[in-house]
Amino acid sequence: MRTFKLVALLVLLAIFSTAAQQMSDRAIVEKFSKTVKDLYEAVDVAKSAFDCADISASIEALKKEFSVHKDLLDRALYPDDYSKTIANLEGRLLVRQKDLGVIETQIARIAELESQVRELSGKIEDLTKENEKLFGGIKNLQRAHQLNMEAAAADRATIDSLTNVVARLRSNLKERDALVFALLDTLFMQYDKDVASMSDVEKQGVSVRLERRNVLTNIKKSISDNLVFLQSTSLSANDYVEIARQNQRFASQWKGLGPKISSIYLSGKQKKNEPAVIDSMLSTWSAKVDEATWRGLAALMAKGGVQLSSFANGKEFTSCFSAFVDAEIKNAKNEPDDVLRKRFNTFNDEVWQKDIAPAWLPVLMESGKITADQKAEIEKSHDSWEKAVTPVSPIVYILVIFVIMLFLWSLGRRMRKK
């Protein structure tokens, strides 16, 4: 019950702080007085170190919010002024902590983590807002780019801006995802124990905190934003690599924390299905990432002059590439050497050395899209292709002539002896 009161209090704080810019002084004073009154009540019913830490964090938030109105509050509050009111409240909390036998360090630790949680929440909100703007920016730039294309005008600047916005958005999404999971981690860390060994009250506490920080909403928002980003038409081949990597990281983090959240919500009615919803959204995202990855890889191969028949998984890709290389090697007899060599060099220089070998293959393997054997097979095919088109070095010819001459000379000597 007390936790709910605190939550209601914090929600009120949030609502009021974002409300109208012009606020009546009376409303400010009344809000302060009400919050203080609620906190006194929360102190009186606090039963654990966690409750005390929660109240302590709320007092800090109260100070942060109302310190700008100190002059007004000093004049308006009676008989105490602002500082005295806060000091009295903190004093009451201290007495309660002593009554409960709560150790100061416990409070400090929990309060520190709570402040981290607040900070992370703030950052997530900021990034969410910025990302919304960036998505809007991408749309506008794409529109501008299309118009310019139609007018056949050079729009290097638009393309550059678009690339920059996409890069910024990619990095923001990555940072936001990391923050959401850091937030989730911090929330669980406050309890210093496994979810399995938590009491119902503690689980209830975690669930209230998860809701207060909109953790599940933020996770869903992360997935949907990543999906929107994936559908952006301005992604480069390397963006797909990064997206695949990000999807993999997200999935593995969710794999670790999802069961904990499921366990927290097991008894609740409303949010019980939320983890399953996230699982399903994540599957959709992963499937889309898969599609986009193979599509991106096919485009990249085509850019290097390697037109493969369509593939949709690691096995198909491996066999398509091997088949292509085999065909190239067989064709070696029918086509001039320099044509074959040029084709290989284009692929090798522009795609293989730059993107496939250093970025794509490790990420594909890391994310389980290809196996180690398939990776080895692809590399082997590449090597075979290279060997097939690489002309024999003149040194080899010299060596062969030298060996033949040596052989003939030794043969002649032996025959003379006979």
């Binding site: 109208a20 012009q22 606020m23 009546s24 002084d25 009376r26 409303a27 004073v29 004049r75």
Partner: protein
């Protein structure tokens, strides 16, 4: 004759000195925040902190031509530095400025602030003025009031 005149002047001076009003200044009568007061069935409102009590039936009749349903109005009251009381309420078109009389509040000025009636009025103390805001429309600029009317440049 001269002595009589001198004595008369002295007596007059002494009397004048004795009758002159003792003035203490400066005085700041201002309240830091407004009070929102709900009249009782008889139309009386009581400000607890400053212990002011008065009847608002006449005021409600003046503004709304109705003093029967007094309890449904919340009056906003704030006193300025000079001691004038500023009163208004939701739906009012005017702000009433009252001076302190002998056992009464005397209307000093009736200031027209809204043709449609105020939506969510609130007073803020902005000495030496009183600021009137609309709490529902935070972006609207405040109206700065003095005891004699709307301050020049302070109208929305």
């Amino acid at each position: 004759m001269k002595t009589t005149l001198a004595l008369f002047v002295c007596v007059l001076l002494l009397q004048l000195t004795g009758c002159s009003t003792l003035v203490l200044k400066p005085v700041d009568f201002s309240w830091p925040i407004e009070s929102a007061l709900q009249p009782d069935a008889k139309g009386n409102v009581t400000e607890q902190r400053y212990q002011v009590n008065f009847n608002v039936k006449a005021l409600l009749f003046e503004e709304l031509k109705d003093s029967t349903s007094v309890t449904k109005h919340t009056l906003h009251l704030l006193r300025d530095q000079a001691g004038f009381y500023f009163v208004t309420a939701k739906g009012f078109k005017h702000v009433y400025v009252f001076g302190h009389g002998d056992g009464n509040l005397t209307l000093h000025k009736k200031i027209l602030v809204s043709e449609k009636g105020l939506e969510a009025p609130a007073f803020n103390q902005r000495a030496p003025n009183i600021s009137l805001i609309n709490e529902k429309k935070g972006n609207e600029p405040p109206v700065l009031l003095t005891k004699d009317g709307i301050m020049e440049g302070g109208k929305k």
